[in-house]
């Protein structure tokens, strides 16, 4: 087997970083969405769900446009780090975080919404703060949903193609992930290599989905 280990390692790093960032950012956002009585919530809901139906090329294009060297974000990034976001690991990480928000936040939010709000109020009445109540009551009762969100995010990042290609191009060891390596192999008419990488990705995706559905149906003894 001649697997592209550089691409695999890069993909795992990208997926892991995306998942961790979305865990930190997504939990509070999802909890807010699940509990708020704010009237404009539908706007936030719609924004969060956008990447599900928007073509990756559109998301990629806007990220390029917003982070390019002439944009305020691009200039600020350059003055702090000395580098550029497009065609760098930081750029594809930003892109995959933005693109994966719904895959993390929606399962989180639906898990939080299924926790009986009376339990949360009971905790408040016992003198426990909102933040501690989240960790002592809400999270223990909704962790399968949170785990589902994390698994989906990780898997979706591994399989991401369009956004990464738009924002990162195909620089080996920097932005060339597994799916892009397959694309390059096919372009180079190297079908054997494309086959090998594809079968690995297929097995991974199938396993991940099996775990997700088993978790949701509580088949796994977790």
């Amino acid at each position: 087997m001649h697997l592209d280990w550089t691409a695999i390692w890069l993909t795992i790093r990208l997926a892991a970083c995306t998942t961790v960032i979305l865990l930190i950012v997504g939990l509070p956002l999802a909890y807010w969405l699940a509990t708020t009585r704010f009237r404009g919530k539908f706007l936030v809901d719609a924004t969060v769900a956008l990447p599900i139906i928007l073509p990756p090329s559109v998301v990629g294009f806007y990220i390029l446009w917003a982070t390019g060297p002439r944009s305020p974000i691009g200039r600020a990034y350059e003055s702090v780090t000395g580098g550029m976001l497009p065609f760098s690991f930081g750029g594809i990480l930003l892109a995959s975080v933005l693109f994966n928000i719904p895959f993390a936040v929606r399962p989180f939010a639906s898990a939080f919404a299924s926790v009986n709000p009376k339990l949360v109020e009971a905790s408040w009445c016992l003198g426990v703060s909102r933040v501690r109540t989240f960790f002592r009551v809400v999270l223990p009762l909704s962790w399968t949903g949170v785990l589902t969100g994390l698994v989906l995010t990780f898997a979706h990042t591994v399989g991401e193609f369009g956004v990464v290609l738009m924002v990162g191009g195909s620089i080996p060891g920097v932005t060339r992930t597994i799916s892009i390596s397959i694309f390059d192999d096919v372009q180079a008419i190297n079908y054997a290599a494309a086959h090998q990488t594809s079968i690995v990705l297929l097995a991974f995706a199938f396993t991940t989905l099996c775990i997700t559905y088993a978790l949701q149906r509580r088949v796994l003894p977790l």
Binding site: E121, W124, G127, S129, P140
Partner: protein, 365 residues
């Protein structure tokens, strides 16, 4: 003197407005019952006291602290009010054991003290042996006691109970109604209880606030509100019946002899079906429909209680007449107009009121 004073107004989209004013002493144990049909706003008032709802107007003061003042923008969250709240369905944490549920609010205390306090409550509420059970494997009555223990564990200054017994099956409810008042008295914390059940109100309360359609219709000492409803509306809600304060003289084979304290200090004897210990103070409830009126003094027949009475007033209500009698205490009978005419009833007339023993409902305190 310590008091809880509150002026609460809560508005809901759609035009529903809920208002109440409360002024209760908090120095000693007393139970205030918020009573009314479902949807009348009583739970909203309880939630405003807890800090789970934010009133749109008015203020709440507890022992000199301002808990909420809409005009000043003051709002103390439930965490800092020092209250205990018992939820209707108990809201026990399903992922924690009975002991961990009770100790949940005590995480600031050192371990030893936490265990000691949990143990005390398990003991007082008869839960010893269930420490490691999960809430899902408890009976309704046990869940209620765990929820009560949990609410009491952090020594609240005010206890709020939302329909504490309504999630239970009828026999358990009957039994726990008597238990709950005793348990609450033991902890000596002022309580507010929301209920729609008049027998619950009667057996648990000291003070009654009758609510309907978002406002308080009448408030006062329990017995007073029940026996002297301010208007026909309140009378309908609390039920057209006579409620008497009585003492159990003796009890034999399920038949109790009650002594009713009359209005002129005279005591009248009643026979009722009840299992209550001698000397217990009880309420005897008699529905107007269950009282028969007769002019002959002849005894016998199936009724156990024959009370010589004088007719105080007669109020026609459609095909019926509400007859208020004085038989040492005030007793209301509801009879048909025809019966009234045949008996030749008139105000001031002498009659005999007959009540069957099982028609007297005894509520123990």
């Amino acid at each position: 003197m310590n008091t809880l004073t509150a002026e609460i107004e809560k508005r809901y989209p759609g035009g529903t407005v809920i208002r109440a004013s409360i002024d209760r002493s908090t120095d000693q144990f007393s139970v205030t019952v918020l009573f009314g049909p479902s949807g009348c706003g009583k739970t909203t008032i309880l939630r405003c006291l807890a800090g789970l709802e934010r009133p749109d107007r008015g203020r709440i003061r507890f022992n000199g602290e301002v808990w909420s003042d809409a005009a000043e923008g003051v709002f103390i969250p439930p965490q800092r009010r020092g209250i205990g709240y018992l939820f209707q369905e108990y809201a026990l944490f399903p992922h924690l054991s009975v002991a961990a549920n009770i100790a949940y609010g005590l995480s600031e205390l050192p371990r030893r003290e936490r265990c000691q306090r949990t143990g005390e409550l398990l003991d007082m509420l008869n839960l010893t042996g269930l420490e490691n059970r999960s809430p899902g494997r408890l009976s309704g009555g046990e869940q209620q006691r765990v929820a009560l223990a949990r609410a009491l564990a952090h020594r609240p200054r005010l206890l709020l109970l939302d329909e504490p017994l309504s999630a239970l099956d009828a026999p358990t409810r009957e039994h726990l109604r008597r238990e709950l008042r005793r348990q609450l008295a033991e902890f000596a914390i002022p309580c507010f209880i929301v209920t729609h059940d008049r027998h619950e109100a009667l057996s648990l309360g000291d003070h009654l606030m009758v609510m309907e359609q978002g406002s308080v219709r009448q408030a006062g000492p329990l017995h007073e509100v029940f026996s002297h409803p301010a208007n026909a509306h309140v009378a309908m809600m609390v039920g057209v019946e006579t409620i008497l304060q009585a003492r159990v003289e003796r009890e034999e084979g399920g038949l109790a002899t009650l002594m009713v304290e009359g209005e002129h200090g005279r005591e009248t004897q009643l026979i009722a079906v009840a299992q209550a210990a001698q000397g217990r103070r009880v309420f005897a409830c008699i529905r107007g429909e269950e009282v028969a009126i007769d002019t002959s003094t002849q005894t016998g027949g199936s009724a156990r209680n024959h009370l010589p009475a004088r007719v105080l007033s007669m109020d026609p209500e459609g095909p019926l007449v509400r007859v208020t009698l004085d038989c040492g205490f005030r007793l209301v009978a509801v009879i048909t107009r025809q019966a009234g005419a045949e008996l030749g009833l008139r105000e001031g007339g002498e009659v005999i009121a007959r009540i069957k023993a099982p028609a007297i409902h005894v509520v123990t305190r």
